[in-house]
């Protein structure tokens, strides 16, 4: 949960957001700093959506601060199978979210802070935002060697990436968000963000891997809370506004009408997996059965997260051809998902001849197919 510092207070947020919606011209503030009380990645992404869609940013820019419990966040046009280890992610109960902005895959946990800069489309300017962050960091720790690259990353000591950037531009509004590694679990990060899946071919946006470092490692005084405050302060100074952070609850439908629908959409399978650009899987694997090794070749085309075309090449008669074609037929049109394939395969088994040998071969093949997902 977010620590309450003395500078934060819960303003009458409904008042602020409603007046923004009506196009109220604020005489005093040219900016607003808000922080989420939730660590749920879907809720926080929904807040970004909500602000993008509903707030009038003509005379007011917004800085949104948020942190998430462990989650992998992929870019709008990315392929999760290409980017990281979904199996490990599921085992560790890490969530998967697809954001609406472009860019690459990141791992979030409470040791990573997220900053979103909302402006009108015309005032969209990523360099300025990143320079603001660097300025805030240097104010905290003057000897820190941090600088912005032309890829919009922030590097520590010239080699470690501590921040990645992505952006979303709509018709009139735009936002630029970036991460900042304070004290994230580097071990989980590196083990999860390594894809074991072979034979994938796709036009999805690839991530560019980089060595990372936590700011905390160089200077233990740089905790997430300290960094959030410093950045908020620098933003307040640059926009000549009150250094007051308004807390926002992403579950509050009264303050953010329609937010729960947005959260639901971001959690839906259709968004997270279904928006994966078309890709194909072409791979082979070996199965060890009793004393022999069986070579299997699999080709699949996956569109909108569902298997459009499926081909399985097995040694002749290892499985009755009728059963093999039954598997292919059932997989076609079904989700490229281990759970779907498991339930599908085990349900089909009920209508096959009750032969133990047959069943164990079928299970072996299906389990290997599931490993591809």
């Amino acid at each position: 949960m977010v620590l309450q510092s003395s500078l934060k207070n819960c303003l009458q947020l409904p008042c602020i957001l409603r007046t923004s919606k009506a196009g109220f011209r604020s005489t005093t503030s040219g900016g607003l700093i808000i922080q989420s009380v939730s660590n749920d990645v879907y809720q926080n992404l929904a807040v970004e959506d909500w602000i993008h869609d509903h707030m009038n940013l003509e005379n007011r820019q917004v800085l949104f601060l948020w942190r998430n419990s462990p989650a992998v966040v992929i870019g709008r046009h990315q392929n999760p199978w290409q980017e990281f280890n979904l199996r490990l992610m599921r085992q560790k109960n890490i969530k998967l979210a697809r954001r609406r902005s472009g860019g690459g895959t990141v791992y979030h946990d409470l040791g990573n802070i997220n900053l979103t800069f909302f402006t009108t489309r015309k005032k969209y300017e990523r360099m300025e935002n990143l320079k603001l962050i660097v300025k805030a960091l240097k104010a905290l720790c003057p000897q820190l060697d941090v600088r912005v690259t032309d890829r919009y990353d922030i590097l520590l000591d010239g080699q470690y990436k501590i921040s990645g950037t992505a952006a979303k531009l709509g018709r009139t509004a735009a936002y630029h968000h970036c991460t900042l590694l304070c004290n994230a679990d580097k071990f989980v990060l590196s083990s999860v963000l390594k894809s074991p899946y072979k034979g994938l071919k796709s036009n999805a946006t690839p991530s560019v891997p980089a060595s990372v470092q936590n700011l905390f490692e160089g200077d233990p005084s740089l905790t997430s809370e300290v960094l959030l405050d410093a950045i908020a302060e620098e933003y307040a100074v640059q926009h000549q506004i009150d250094h007051r952070i308004t807390l926002i609850n992403p579950g509050d439908e009264a303050v953010l009408p329609g937010i729960n629908n947005k959260t639901e959409e971001l959690q839906s399978w259709e968004w997270v997996y279904g928006k994966t650009p078309k890709f194909s899987v072409s791979t082979c694997f070996n199965m060890v059965y009793k004393d022999s090794v069986i070579d299997v070749k699999v080709d699949m085309d996956v569109k909108h997260g569902k298997i459009e075309v499926c081909r399985i090449d097995l040694p002749e008669q290892w499985l009755p051809p009728a059963l093999c074609s039954e598997l292919v037929k059932s997989l076609t049109g079904s989700k490229f998902c281990p759970n779907e394939t498991t339930t599908l395969a085990t349900t089909l088994l009920r209508v096959f001849p009750q032969d133990d040998e047959l069943h164990s071969r079928w299970n072996l093949l299906c389990e290997n197919m599931i490993m591809l997902m």
């Binding site: 869609d53 018709r171 009139t172 650009p277 076609t332 089909l348």
Partner: protein
């Protein structure tokens, strides 16, 4: 293309279609050079090239990542057209015009250039929108909210849903009085307009702030139609613009279709009974904290499952399997009792293995494991195969007696209704409060007869009505 044109133009005479055809071909040929203006009376629109606008930061090229529309679709101003990506920025391109998409200039994953045409849109000429006109910047509003429509220079506000409703009923929005904020036209306004046309009375609107246009505001004398309306109430169904949706059956559901069709071939017979769980309810209350202290949530199912296994020891035919040709019966040694689970996907049946050698506590622990895997969508093949007998606790959702379907290759299944508190008579003829649950068994009548099922059910019932009797079976 010719025919499509005729349909999309509201009042074109058939004789003009040939002219339209010819024009269309030339429009496509010259689309890169001219802007074409119609001077004839034909009411079909002009093709306008919608160029990719500036992204900012000096970006000149982007990659097209997703199209939201295809050629032939109609779009409204501010509808999303496509998603492009440039250097970690994802940009939603929205339409400047109302019209019909005639051409997409790029395929997926192609590079698009700022300032070059992205799509060709055919604009309805009667709307009078000049392609050079700048779009008026308004405060950003949600996609679900309002779009502007310029009709003869007068801005009429209405949501796309309302505009569609008007279009489907051949209503000109300029003729409807808007009662929403800023004279916005609401659905109720369209319905009221329709009602006036047909002389029907609509049910009162649920929203308190919508006031239907009062006839008194127009100084029109009461027409005979109005009088007729007052004396003859006619109920007309509200216009509903929903459409049927057809989807293919895929994946898991396809497999279920196969399984259930196979199940239908089994001659089912049913046997139902009522179980007095008063003693069991009390026992469970006592044992719940004990189980929790050992990290296990104890429901009623572990008792039902164990009692079933004890019954199967006496009536093993219920734990059997009939082969395809109905020549042989295989008596299964293991009691792998399946528990039907309702998940997001639908009905799945993981099973608890080897119940005949498990204690009630062990069954409860295993159920916990299966339930948490089930809700996380992580059940493995081993958990989902090898079942020999199934219990379905539909009572957690509701119901009393049901008619469960046997899951092949099994031969029996039991469905448990909800536990209700009902009055019953005891041995002394007194009324007492009893915790009653109904059970509905189905069995394969080819190898199981009614008497066997009844005896098994009675035995199972006796274990549950008098839980202490299960002690005698403890190993």
């Amino acid at each position: 293309v010719c025919i499509h044109r005729v349909r999309s133009c509201s009042s074109i005479r058939f004789i003009k279609s040939k002219y339209v055809c010819v024009f269309d071909k030339s429009a496509l040929k010259f689309s890169h050079q001219h802007r074409l203006f119609r001077t004839s009376a034909v009411s079909c629109g002009q093709i306008v090239q919608f160029k990719l606008s500036d992204i900012g930061e000096g970006i000149t090229e982007v990659t097209v990542k997703e199209w939201y529309i295809k050629e032939g679709d109609s779009v409204s101003q501010f509808d999303s057209i496509c998603e492009v990506q440039s250097d970690k920025a994802s940009v939603t391109i929205t339409s400047r015009y109302d019209g019909i998409i005639r051409k997409l200039h790029y395929n997926l994953d192609e590079i698009a250039y700022v300032g070059k045409p992205l799509v060709d849109i055919e604009i309805d000429a009667s709307k009078g929108v000049s392609p050079e006109e700048d779009v008026v910047e308004t405060p950003p509003m949600s996609h679900e909210e309002h779009t502007h429509q310029e009709i003869k220079g007068h801005k009429t506000l209405a949501t796309p849903a309302v505009r569609r409703l008007a279009m489907e009923n051949n209503i000109k929005l300029s003729e409807v009085v808007g009662t929403g904020k800023d004279n916005r036209i609401l659905k109720e306004d369209i319905l009221n307009y329709l009602a006036k046309q047909t002389g029907a009375i609509l049910p009162p609107s649920p929203k308190a702030e919508i006031i239907p246009p009062s006839p008194k505001s127009e100084t029109v004398p009461e027409t005979p139609k109005d009088k007729a309306r007052k004396t003859v109430p006619v109920s007309r169904p509200i216009v509903f613009s929903g459409k049927d949706k057809t989807e293919p059956i895929t994946g898991f559901h396809k497999a279920m279709v196969k399984t259930m069709s196979a199940a239908l071939k089994i001659p089912h017979f049913g046997y139902c009974d009522e179980i007095d769980l008063t003693q069991l309810v009390q026992l469970r209350e006592e044992l719940k904290p004990l189980a929790e202290s050992r990290g296990v949530k104890l429901s009623f199912m572990p008792f039902f499952i164990k009692a079933a296994s004890l019954g199967l020891l006496q009536y093993p035919i219920l734990n059997a399997s009939l082969d395809e040709s109905c020549q042989n019966v295989t008596y299964k040694a293991l009691h792998n009792i399946g528990v039907a689970m309702d998940t997001e996907q639908g009905l799945i049946v993981p099973n608890v293995k080897n119940v005949q050698i498990c204690s009630v506590f062990e069954i409860a622990a295993e159920l916990n494991r299966l339930q948490s895997l089930g809700s996380a969508g992580q059940l493995g093949t081993n958990d989902l195969t090898g079942g020999t007998f199934t219990l379905s606790n539909i009572g957690t959702i509701g119901g009393t007696y049901t008619k469960p379907v046997i899951l092949p290759p099994e031969v029996a299944i039991g469905a448990l209704g909800k536990i209700q508190v009902l009055p019953r008579f005891n041995g002394k003829g007194e009324v007492f409060k009893a915790q009653i649950m109904n059970v509905s068994w189905s069995a394969d009548h080819r190898i199981i007869d009614g008497a066997t099922m009844a005896r098994f059910s009675n035995l199972w019932k006796s274990y549950l009505e008098n839980p202490a009797s299960m002690l005698l079976e403890l190993k």
